[in-house]
């Protein structure tokens, strides 16, 4: 039960949504875009999200698209994690998102909501970072398309009033070997201790992390170290640890030491999967 009240709007076009946002903002209502709503409702209930108006973008056709067009998979942000998993166009994305929350929650959680979530895991971002996906962002001035690494730095950097409409991924990535490992402290569902996703493009391994620092990331430095086959596997992993770009999380899900221990083990698994034992 949310203790405060908000207005509910359900626009049917991108321009209607962005103009609504501007108008509600000018009335001091601090509007929020609403997709699956699972985070807005759970954090709203404990007053960690307070808004005077929500703009439900599920009525916008562009946000519901899910199709392959030539070599690009176009994913509207209102697609639920279940739908993306069932259609399974993008196997690494399917594998990563099937580990988020639980089956019934995934019927409501959307791609856009997970990418833009306040909670720092945002695991759906990992496959998108690894595949240099493009993001389609709407603003009152129109729609722009950017590569995700241009606009995603710890979070998706949106200006006030902008919202994410679609994600586009080149399907040549879908055939590459991949691995996605979610480690939890206990149980089979819920938030991760760490999640590591990786693909092998030609001979180069790309890797992205969630739950290790207070934001999901992919790092060039880490990939250089991981791909340095001049040194032993153990040295490569040690180098990766040195390259971690921010403090390692230390919270109720696990201490920093424990996360580090699990990370080393998981990186070994990733190398086993993508390079085979002989590189050990």
């Amino acid at each position: 039960m949310i203790s405060y009240d908000f207005e509910y709007h359900k626009p049917t076009s991108i321009s209607e949504a962005t103009h609504l946002y501007q108008s509600l903002q000018s009335q001091g209502k601090k509007p929020m875009y609403y997709c699956g709503g699972t985070e807005i409702l759970t954090l709203g209930r404990v007053n960690r999200i307070v808004t005077g108006a929500i703009i439900d973008i599920k009525g916008i056709l562009d946000c519901n698209v899910l199709k392959l067009e030539e070599n690009l998979l176009i994913m509207g942000v209102a697609n639920t994690l279940t739908k993306l998993n069932e259609t399974n166009y993008f196997p690494l994305l399917s594998k990563t998102i099937i580990e988020i929350a639980d089956h019934t929650a995934r019927n409501k959680i959307t791609l856009g909501g997970n990418i833009c979530a306040n909670i720092f895991y945002r695991e759906a971002v990992l496959p998108l970072l690894l595949t240099d996906s493009q993001v389609v962002i709407a603003s009152p001035n129109g729609v722009k398309v950017s590569f995700i690494h241009e606009v995603f730095h710890q979070t998706l950097n949106l200006n006030d009033g902008e919202f994410l409409v679609q994600v586009k991924t080149d399907n040549s990535y879908f055939k590459m070997p991949y691995v996605s490992v979610k480690r939890r402290r206990q149980w089979d569902i819920g938030y991760p201790l760490i999640t590591v996703a990786a693909i092998k493009n030609d001979n180069e391994i790309r890797v992205a992390f969630s739950g290790l620092c207070s934001f999901p990331f992919r790092s060039q430095q880490i990939e250089q170290s991981l791909n340095n086959r001049q040194i032993s596997r153990q040295s490569r992993i040690d180098q990766v640890i040195n390259d971690i770009p921010a403090p390692i999380l230390d919270d109720v899900h696990g201490s920093a030491e424990y996360r580090l221990f699990v990370l080393k083990y998981t990186l070994n698994n990733v190398l086993d999967a993508l390079e085979g034992e002989r590189h050990a």
Partner: protein
């Protein structure tokens, strides 16, 4: 506007309700429509006690606004009326206190309809959405499998 009169299609009938836009479907079903089958548990998406079926898929009604549910087919446990899965829950003693049961039943009902040949992995994946504090999950799995088997053999319970 912070409140609206809306029509919800619940258990095959249109129902008009006056809701706050912040009202969850769980709240509206219980407090406005007297359908108390969906249970408030954690109210946080974790326990599954509030599960109902929307357009044949299980959904946690505590994670859903009433105003976003107007164009959907909503089924609560009251709408099932002696479904096979309900009978098998009784036969297999798949509950103790019963608080979690409507949520489990709605989840199982959707599973059986969507995947008539669901395997163990599918059943496990779906059942992870609901928490029972009293009993083990073995009896619940047995109840699902009994319905699946009977359906496959063309039998009714």
């Amino acid at each position: 506007m912070l409140k609206s009169e809306i029509t919800l299609y619940v258990n095959g009938e249109p129902r008009q309700v006056y809701v706050r836009h912040t009202d969850t479907l769980l709240h509206t079903l219980r407090e406005n429509l007297g359908l108390t089958g969906a249970k408030p548990g954690c109210l946080n998406g974790d326990c599954g006690a509030c599960t109902i079926d929307i357009d044949e898929e299980p959904i946690k009604s505590c994670l859903t606004l009433s105003v976003e549910s107007t164009d959907k087919k909503i089924t609560t446990v009251e709408g099932l009326q002696n479904a096979q899965i309900q009978k098998e829950f009784i036969k297999k003693f798949a509950f103790q206190c019963g608080y979690c049961t409507p949520g489990f039943i709605m989840n199982c009902n959707a599973l059986i309809n969507k995947y008539p040949d669901a395997d163990d992995a599918k059943i496990k994946d779906w059942l992870e959405s609901n928490i029972c504090r009293c009993t083990g999950y073995a009896e619940i799995e047995e109840a699902i499998k009994a319905v699946l088997t009977k359906n496959q053999q063309g039998l009714s319970s």
